[in-house]
């Protein structure tokens, strides 16, 4: 398909652009296959350069022959274009609509994007499971890499290489895979060097109503426990939901069959409940006419911070089991691709200083989200302005980033990266010129040949010039477990994302710059002092 077919009017003059915090500008609007560009032509600068895939929804209005298109973006920004001429406006609107909802992934911008920067380090090869495993194998021999899934036949949503107990052979894994939802047999998520405890994750066991069991599954997860040790199974669903799952063939681990494990149910919401929460929250943030009572009641009704609290609490619980109780933990929900990953990745951030560095955090996202098979393509297809009632969208990764932000706020010196890094990841997970977040799992990415055909986000981010923007000037490595407070008084609305387009951050930005100045000046003085 040629994009030209979708672009009936590639160019309109005298278009007026309205955006938050900028005066309106008049210029020429151009549509390309992947971008919407507005240039004011005076000094040849582009006022707006917007990826079609960043567009969440559009609205059009007409007053006489003047048309107005309101564009709502996935990064939550809202812009308005006044376009003279009814026909032009209609053409532009329909083109945007078509171009922002392309069906085929291979037509997306990452497949056309040619980087203007020199690639120093190819991000596609930065985080390889083998390299990660080397670290592990230097401390323990109880785990091995299994290549059982190398052609994605055992579990379509798993990566080709997974870490499993050394004493369990591939044949047993194959059997366990048939007992777990989507073939997601228990694999290693995290090894706690301090005490040798582990966090493993999987999907729900397919016990169904007749209480089916699987000896190999029991062996596998018992193999993760030391002799005489007990472990905890954290089910991210409430007991009720877990019980209902049995009717659909799913279920949970029966005490009788897993006597060494204690099961704890938490309740982390999924799918449309999260999506609706996001929609409600953004709607509340965007309406500045609210009075105080209405704002607070809308904030409350969105339940966003309730979800944050629930996720953080569950992650803390996992950490508590591992670090305080000295017990290993198995975490799963239903599919093991959403709430499970929120919990396992946050627990690692709380426990493991390495995950709080930039590299470590990238590795964590690579390991616990991308390779672990979080369906980014489905979850991030639409953001807060979606009006279609599709079932698969959910701000699961977004919530994870918000939780990280909450911890970052409570421990501002313990992270190597700053808030901008999290915001950047949020933006790229929804719309990007890079291939990193395309596809739903490694198998799909492999078929799309992303490594050959697109650029990795990490190739761009990890260049020193780019990385500079994301470095937290306050960072000082902290080897401790960082327990966040999950009390409602301690949680906050992530203003950097939700209020970003609704208020000027001029004074806050200036203060941040001042902070950097003070720190830089301090370094300078120290250096000078040392010269004497």
């Amino acid at each position: 398909m040629e994009f030209a077919e979708l672009i009936k009017t590639p160019r309109v003059d005298n278009v007026v652009l309205h955006r938050p915090f900028y005066p309106a500008v008049e210029g020429t609007l151009c549509l390309t296959g992947h971008h919407l560009i507005l240039s004011s032509r005076q000094d040849n600068t582009e006022e707006l350069w917007l990826l079609h895939s960043n567009i969440d929804s559009i609205e059009k209005r007409f007053v006489g022959s003047l048309g107005t298109i309101i564009i709502k973006c996935k990064d939550l920004r809202i812009i308005q274009l006044d376009i003279p001429g009814m026909e032009e406006c209609l053409n532009i609107a329909s083109s945007i609509e078509a171009l922002s909802t392309l069906d085929s992934i291979t037509l997306m911008y990452p497949f056309f994007y040619r980087p203007m920067f020199e690639v120093v380090e190819d991000g596609w090869h930065t985080f390889l499971p083998e390299r990660e495993f080397k670290l592990l194998s230097s401390v323990t021999k109880e785990w091995r890499l299994s290549y059982i899934n190398k052609d994605f036949s055992v579990c379509p949503s798993y990566p080709p290489i997974v870490t499993v107990p050394s004493c369990i052979d591939d044949e047993a894994l194959r059997k366990v895979a048939t007992f777990r939802h989507g073939g997601r047999f228990p694999v290693l998520s995290y090894y706690h060097e301090k005490n040798g405890m582990v966090m493993i994750r999987s999907s729900q066991p397919l016990t169904s109503t007749n209480g089916r069991r699987c000896k190999e599954d029991e062996q596998l997860i018992n193999a993760t426990l030391g002799p005489g040790k007990r472990g905890y199974i954290i089910d991210t669903r409430s007991l009720n939901v877990a019980q209902q799952a049995r009717a659909k063939g799913g279920g949970f681990e029966q005490e009788a069959h897993y006597p060494q494990w204690r099961r704890i149910h938490k309740s982390i919401e999924r799918y449309h409940i999260l999506q609706e929460s996001l929609i409600k929250l953004v709607e509340a943030c965007n309406d500045q006419s609210h009075n105080m009572d209405r704002w607070l009641s809308k904030l409350e009704a969105s339940n966003w911070l309730t979800h944050i609290k629930e996720i953080l609490t569950t992650a803390c619980l996992a950490v508590q089991c591992i670090d305080r109780e000295g017990a290993s933990v198995l975490i799963h929900g239903t599919e093991g691709t959403d709430s499970t990953l929120q919990v396992t990745s946050l627990a690692q951030i709380i426990l493991e200083p390495r995950c709080r560095t930039i590299r470590g955090f990238e590795a964590l996202i690579e390991r616990e989200w991308l390779q672990a098979g979080h369906p980014f393509q489905q979850r991030c297809a639409q953001s807060a302005y979606s009006n279609s009632k599709q079932k698969w969208e959910a701000p699961v990764f977004f919530l994870f980033l918000d939780c990280v932000w909450q911890i970052l706020r409570q421990f501002p010196c313990s992270f190597e990266f700053n808030e901008h890094f999290l915001i950047m990841l949020f933006e790229h997970s929804y719309a990007s010129q890079f291939g990193t977040f395309l596809g739903n799992n490694e198998s799909e990415r492999c078929k799309l040949k992303l490594q050959q055909k697109t650029m990795s986000l990490w190739s761009w981010v990890n260049r020193p010039s780019e990385l500079n923007k994301f470095i937290n000037p306050l960072f000082e490595a902290n080897s401790l477990v960082i327990w966040p407070s999950v009390a409602p008084q301690s949680l906050q609305l992530w203003e950097g994302v939700f209020l970003r387009w609704n208020r000027s951050s001029k004074y806050l930005d200036e203060a941040y710059d001042e902070m950097i100045n003070i720190i830089e000046y301090n370094k300078e003085l120290q250096a000078k002092d040392n010269c004497f």
Binding site: S297, L317, W483, L491, L508, F532
Partner: protein, 645 residues
């Protein structure tokens, strides 16, 4: 009961003079051992065991780790004995600084003793029994006098260029004959003569006639304040009308003035039935009348109570927190106060119009609006000294009833209201929106709040200046301000960038999403709720270190210069310094001097974890190993309990 001594390493830092921290002994009146201090938010009923002492001024709890918790008796708002449990008798103490402690006393009789003693110690009938009258910070008499002279309101009016062509100092109230609750020195329009003043004061509630609060030199516009007129449904008073006219005329740049009634219209109308009310626009020439709708002291008191109630709940859900925040109305009230101040500032800046502000008596809402309005207008009030002046002027001297509002004495609980707390919260919201505009930081606001209730210094005792003079506070007590100034390092905002112009107006955004719950005020002592690392402290430290380094480098450079002039034939460079150093004994001491000079205590303690800096008394009790701190996490038992169901 036999009194004995307790020897302590540290004084109760927060309440005592910051100067002394030597070993001291305290006489205790009551000592109970094996008392448990419960963690307020722990769902697993975590507790510390220790000994509880009552001294003449403080309650002291020393736990088994030798950590001390000091509570000033005057800070105690309520003591409650709960029903006996198997562990003992629970005693809950609520403080005015929002600390809540929950003790369990093993024997009921002891609990009863503590309870009765505290009731007696925390409720004084006479001013003379308050801590300020016995507090001795080891200052001599002249220091005491100087301390009281630190803030001079006459000088403050001179700073605003008053008296001037249009405004004069009036001696009408020299002997408090016209208005008992006003200060002696009042500034009025030049055109207002004695009969006008007297007549107007008779037409105003409690005699509080319109006087100058702030003069804006640039715009020649004034902020005046008064109480409500006794207009009833139709009464009028020519002198009062003249007074307003005089205020209007004193501003050559605008022909009309605003009259801001800070009450909700309904309340003001209801007041008419009692012979009070508001100005009738028909009777006063060239006034623009405006209601701004701030609720009264009773609504505010109830609102705060509700807020505290919600926030004290164990295992509070996010949903309950927000709906509690909403139904308490607290942030709505804060916004209303700030909006009123913005209205005031805009009238002055955009229209050069003078504004007369009043509420009912003109000492609560009026103080809030006048002080916040000027804080927005004049950058001086955003400095440490300027903020002290502002509080002295618009709150203390104009008769905000601190003793009644803070319940310093055992009195009418209906008079207590968090009006001043709201003012501080509004200022905090401004510091959040304009992080570089204020010389002072949050700790400064919290410390002032602490002392408004502590009764340790004389500044906030009494309800008006006359009462303070009668109590001879200047001779018998000390002023808070010099102590805060001595300690100002702690209260400096490291991001502060002084504005180049005096009149840099702050234009805050009051869209509801800009208002946050002030956790550091209302949960000051609930350390588990706070961030564990403080950016603020870290930057403050860096700033101090920078200053020290600058000084040091300057010294070294000048020393090198001296050396250079001495060794004229030797070319000195930084690199060659070391060889010079070796063969020039004269240079040696100067360089060694540098090494001896210890750098600032920028240490890892501050870097890594919150509040291990014990020098900061506010957070001193947080100095606990941080990885041990139990957050409000999940208790595991809870999870297991769910599991069995």
């Amino acid at each position: 009961m036999l009194s004995t001594h307790i020897s302590l390493e540290d004084t109760p830092t927060l309440y005592s003079a910051p100067s002394s921290s030597t070993k001291r002994s305290y006489i205790w009146r009551l000592k109970v051992e094996q008392v448990k201090l419960l963690d307020r938010f722990s769902t697993s009923n975590k507790s510390l065991t220790g000994t509880l002492y009552l001294t003449a001024t403080h309650l002291l709890f020393i736990d088994s780790l030798q950590k001390e918790t000091w509570i000033l008796h005057h800070h105690i708002a309520a003591v409650e004995k709960l029903a006996l449990t198997t562990a003992g008798c629970p005693l809950v103490i609520q403080c005015k600084n929002f600390r809540i402690v929950h003790f369990i006393v093993p024997r009921e009789r002891d609990c009863h003793d503590i309870y009765n003693s505290l009731l007696q110690l925390s409720r004084q009938a006479k001013y003379e029994d308050l801590y300020a009258f016995s507090y001795n910070p080891k200052q001599n008499e002249s220091e005491q006098i100087q301390g009281w002279q630190l803030i001079d309101l006459a000088e403050e009016y001179r700073r605003m260029d008053v008296p001037n062509l249009n405004w004069k100092l009036s001696d009408a109230n020299r002997d408090y004959k016209i208005c008992e609750t006003y200060p002696r020195d009042l500034y009025v329009p030049r055109a207002a003569n004695k009969p006008t003043i007297v007549g107007s004061s008779k037409f105003r509630s409690k005699g509080r006639f319109p006087v100058l609060s702030y003069y804006h030199q640039d715009k020649q516009a004034a902020i005046c304040r008064c109480s409500q007129p006794l207009s009833g449904f139709s009464a009028r008073c020519l002198e009062d009308e003249h007074m307003l006219q005089a205020i209007n005329k004193a501003n050559p740049s605008n022909r009309y003035m605003y009259v801001m009634d800070t009450r909700p219209k309904l309340n003001a109308m209801a007041n008419r039935a009692a012979g009070k009310g508001y100005e009738n626009e028909d009777n006063y020439s060239n006034i623009r009348f405006q209601f701004v709708g701030i609720e009264n002291i009773h609504v505010m008191r109830t609102s705060l109570q509700k807020l505290l109630e919600v926030n004290g709940t164990k295992g509070l859900s996010v949903s309950d927190f927000f709906s509690g925040l909403e139904s308490s109305g607290w942030l709505r009230h804060i916004k209303a106060v700030l909006d009123a101040a913005i209205f005031l500032a805009k009238a002055i800046v955009n229209e050069s119009a003078s504004v007369l502000v009043h509420c009912s008596d003109g000492w609560d809402r009026t103080s809030q609006v006048c002080s916040l309005g000027t804080l927005l207008l004049d950058s001086y009030y955003r400095t440490i000294k300027g903020f002290m002046v502002l509080i002295e002027k618009d709150w203390i001297s104009f008769g905000h009833k601190f003793s009644d509002r803070c319940g310093h004495l055992d009195g009418d609980p209906k008079e207590v209201s968090p009006v001043f707390t709201q003012f501080l919260e509004c200022v905090w919201h401004l510091t959040e929106q304009f992080p570089q505009a204020f010389e002072y930081n949050e700790a400064f606001l919290l410390q002032i709040h602490e002392h408004v209730h502590s009764c340790q210094f004389g500044n906030f005792l009494g309800n008006c200046q006359k009462e303070r003079e009668d109590l001879k506070l200047r001779e018998k007590t000390y002023s808070l301000w010099p102590f805060l100034l001595d300690d100002q390092e702690k209260y400096l905002n490291p991001f502060y960038t002084p504005s180049s112009q005096k009149f840099t107006v702050l234009e805050p955004n009051t869209v509801p999403f800009n208002f946050k719950f002030w956790r550091n005020m209302y949960h000051q002592f609930d350390r588990t709720l706070h961030p564990r690392q403080s950016v603020f402290k870290l930057i403050m430290n860096k700033n101090d270190q920078n200053k020290q380094l600058e000084k040091e480098i300057k010294e070294l450079e000048s020393k090198i210069k001296q050396q250079k002039t001495r060794h004229t034939d030797t070319v000195l460079t930084k690199e060659s310094l070391h060889c010079i150093h070796a063969d020039s004994p004269a240079l040696k001491p100067s360089l060694c001097f540098k090494k001896e000079q210890t750098l600032l205590p920028v240490n890892d303690a501050i870097r890594t974890i919150e509040g291990s800096n014990t020098a900061d008394n506010r957070y001193s009790e947080y100095a606990e190993e941080f990885s041990k701190t139990e957050p409000a996490v999940v208790s595991l038992e809870y999870g297991v309990a769910r599991m069995t169901c």
